[in-house]
């Protein structure tokens, strides 16, 4: 391997690593706030990428149907609860939010031809289609069992993952998609060509991380989430609803996932089930951070990206083996470092 290849691989590694880092942050966030180990995080990446690809190909993305289906399910649950409580005045609002908004979105997608829209609008539409799936998922799958053990929540997560993968196959088919690069610009620094796409991914990731930081440090909702992460009961006593915190963190996770999908779609071909492995690589990063530290998780995720890039050069067939076996020394290191005490 000469220096040029090394730098090229490094560039690949950092690009993927930046995306894994975003996912790692989302995973830490969701776990800290809701105790949910969010295995389906990767599905949001796949859905984001595939939705954008469908829009660009001029097809109606399958996520529209998913949005409608989940919205209807929530409307049924909330609606029947409102009827039982004889609060009929809430019904129009429930219907409007859960069925009306998705229908409006679907109608407007049918009205325009999405393939001809500018890229930025396509990206925005993608986010509008995919991000709401996050809080909807929380409402349908997790909220009814919010107080269950971490283990039970984890099994729910795996069940959600399995369902969403199946749904992805149903709506997007088995073929993969890859969107055209956002930019063709490239820079030459010495012997090395820096792809504009790479820089875009890294800059976008950094911007998103900064935005998250500001959200948590400066806004009331951000602080509410941090309070819930630190002490759920205490936060509830201060008037921060656990459900609100859950919905909010899942919205953020959905947004980060969908955005990562948009970023990754020009770099790799994404299939309906690609999200899982991508999400798990974020997980390896998150576990390096002990599912608790944001900076260590992000750093760990970049490390995973680099390891993946270099191992794909040295032992391409064993790339996944190497990346996922990394978790063992990491866990060993963590287990030697931490002394776990249960709350007495």
């Amino acid at each position: 391997m000469d220096l040029q290849i090394a730098l090229l691989l490094g560039q690949d590694g950092v690009t993927n690593g930046a995306i894994y880092a975003l996912l790692a942050l989302a995973l830490v966030l969701v776990f800290a706030v809701t105790r949910v180990i969010f295995i389906p995080q990767g599905e949001f990446v796949a859905f984001g990428a595939l939705t954008l690809a469908s829009l660009q190909a001029g097809r109606l993305p399958g996520t529209v149907w998913l949005l409608l289906a989940m919205g209807t399910a929530i409307a049924l649950i909330e609606g029947s609860a409102a009827m039982r409580a004889r609060r009929f005045r809430r019904l129009p609002l429930i219907l409007l939010i859960n069925c009306g908004a998705p229908l409006l979105l679907a109608a407007s997608l049918l009205a325009v031809s999405p393939a001809e829209l500018p890229l930025l609008v396509q990206v925005l539409l993608t986010l509008m289609l995919v991000v709401p799936l996050g809080p909807m998922l929380y409402r349908l799958a997790y909220q009814p069992v919010a107080e269950a053990s971490v283990l039970a929540l984890l099994i729910v997560s795996v069940a959600v993952h399995v369902t969403l993968t199946g749904v992805g196959l149903l709506f997007f088919g088995a073929e993969g998609s890859r969107t055209p690069a956002f930019t063709d610009v490239s820079f030459e620094v010495g012997d090395v060509v820096l792809q504009g796409q790479t820089i875009l991914v890294i800059v976008a990731s950094i911007l998103l991380i900064v935005a998250l930081y500001l959200f948590f440090e400066r806004t009331l909702y951000g602080k509410a989430l941090r309070a819930t992460a630190m002490n759920r009961t205490g936060a509830r006593l201060m008037g921060i609803s656990g459900n609100l915190a859950g919905l909010l963190s899942f919205t953020l996770a959905g947004a980060i996932g969908a955005f990562s999908g948009v970023l990754i779609s020009p770099i790799t071909t994404i299939y309906y089930d690609s999200g899982f492995l991508i999400g798990l690589k974020g997980f390896v990063g998150a576990i390096i951070g002990g599912l608790a530290s944001y900076p260590v998780a992000a750093g760990g995720a970049v490390l995973v990206g680099l390891l993946e890039a270099y191992s794909s050069f040295w032992a391409s067939a064993f790339k996944e083996v190497i990346v996922f076996t990394l978790i063992i020394p990491v866990l060993l290191w963590r287990s030697l470092k931490t002394r776990h005490v249960e709350e007495a």
Partner: protein
Amino acid sequence: MKRSVQSTILLLLFIVALLAAPVLLSEFYVTLLNYIGLYAIVALGLVMLTGVGGLTSFGQAAFAGLGAYTSAYLTTVHGVSPWLTLPAGLLVTAIVALSLGLVTLRLSGHFLPLGTIAWGISLYYLFGNLAALGGHTGISGVPPLYIFDLEIRSGREFFYLIWAILLALILATRNLLDSREGRAIRALKGGSVMAEAMGVNTPRSKIVVFAVAALYAAVSGWLYAHLQRFVNPTPFSLTQGIEYLFMAVVGGVSHVWGAILGAGLITVLKQWLQDWLPRLLGQSGNFEMIVFGLLMIIVLQRARDGVWPMLQRFFPQDVARARSDGVRRLEKRPLPESGSVLLEVTDASKCFGGLVANDRVSFRVRAGEIMALIGPNGAGKSTMFNGISGVDPLTSGRVSFRGERVESLPARRIARLGMSRTFQHVRLLPAMSVIENVAIGAHLRGRKSFIAAACRADRDEDARLLQEAALQIERCGLRDQMYEPAGNLPLGRQRLVEIARALAADPCLLLLDEPAAGLRYIEKQALAELLRRLRAEGIGILLVEHDMEFVMGLADRVVVMEFGRKLAAGLPEEIQRNPAVVEAYLGGVE
């Protein structure tokens, strides 16, 4: 007696049905039942791990893969007999499971399943990419099994082998769970604090149950390799590992028979969905996973215990019972001489971050005395208990118990020296009967281990443990509720169960954290009488209690704590007159 006869009859009927099945059913159904049997073996391991032990794994398919690939490789490449590759596969699996367990089980519970996901994926890719294992095409030409000269080749012949092994494993698992080590495993689900305080080596129990579940999977994999006579990576993927967990959860993760039920339900449902869904949706793909995923979510939301408990009421329940006849009592430990110092706490401090919960507290407890630790809420009494008993070690200071320094020992080592305790927030296993809960207290008084328990070589010892538990329950006045689930008792009585459990450990020092809370007047009097009797026997008692009438009438000496510090110490009468104590309790008089 009658119940166990009933369940034996049901078991025999089940065996007869199994014997008849291959004769009566078509090839298709025999094959289906073979797969159900193979899956149920893996699911049985998950029942032990998840439902009983409170741990979980998504990597069981990978363990099955280890069993299958070890046998396929050794038989085809090196011509080793399948009967030798079974132990070889088990050995490989055990080594992998033990190392994986050692790495993850010290961390909090969710790192193990995450580790198994990663490990399930990497093993799948390893199988698929190692040229020696045939890559993604796998290994074919795996030889059939022979029992002496009888070749087991057809599905019908395999049926008997698979179900015989499954049945044997079910019985062994049941035996194991109904034993001393089994109760220790069941105690894991309630968190490790209580189990450790009763002397259970919880990391060991966790690793054993994880390894046993892995070995079950390896057995299933070995059978699979010789039934199919071909292996490739697909059946050992993470997806299959997830499906195994679904089987266990849908069937009923807390019951051994739930494994068969879940394996049967999921396998039949999958067969059916794979026929119908592609027709319905007009495209082909693994759409049954959508239904399985939704089914799991609904099961976990609505019926977390799975389907088996709904059927269970039609079957007789076996409850561990104490035998009254001819059981030798357990040996008792010689108690230290009355009046000798049992426990000496010197300058004990405990900090939680910046909060000082205990600040250089010192006191002694002697054999044959009742010493009360009192103080307002938040004074640091329970923290002190946790520090002394090793549940949550002190930040600094010395604790010596029977002349031995114990402040840095784990709770189970301190328990072994003869200190036993109850918890302020009751830590019983609500679904287990009172007698089984109390028998956990006697854990350290038995020796027989897992293998002895699985083949019932422990019955004599177990009877003695249960008899001891029964005696302590009677002593605490709970004879009538001995076989009820502990969770059915009112809170006050649950505290008495905790005392019985502590007594079953044959302690010389008893730590009681608010034993009288929630008891009625008569029950309090009975409790006081019991504690006086224990004192007369020479046991030392350290008591935290808020009921002053109870404390002052019972205690020989009293230590008062406030804001983590020792405020006063002395005889009950002195304490009652002490102005600082009166102020702490009643507020200052202006």
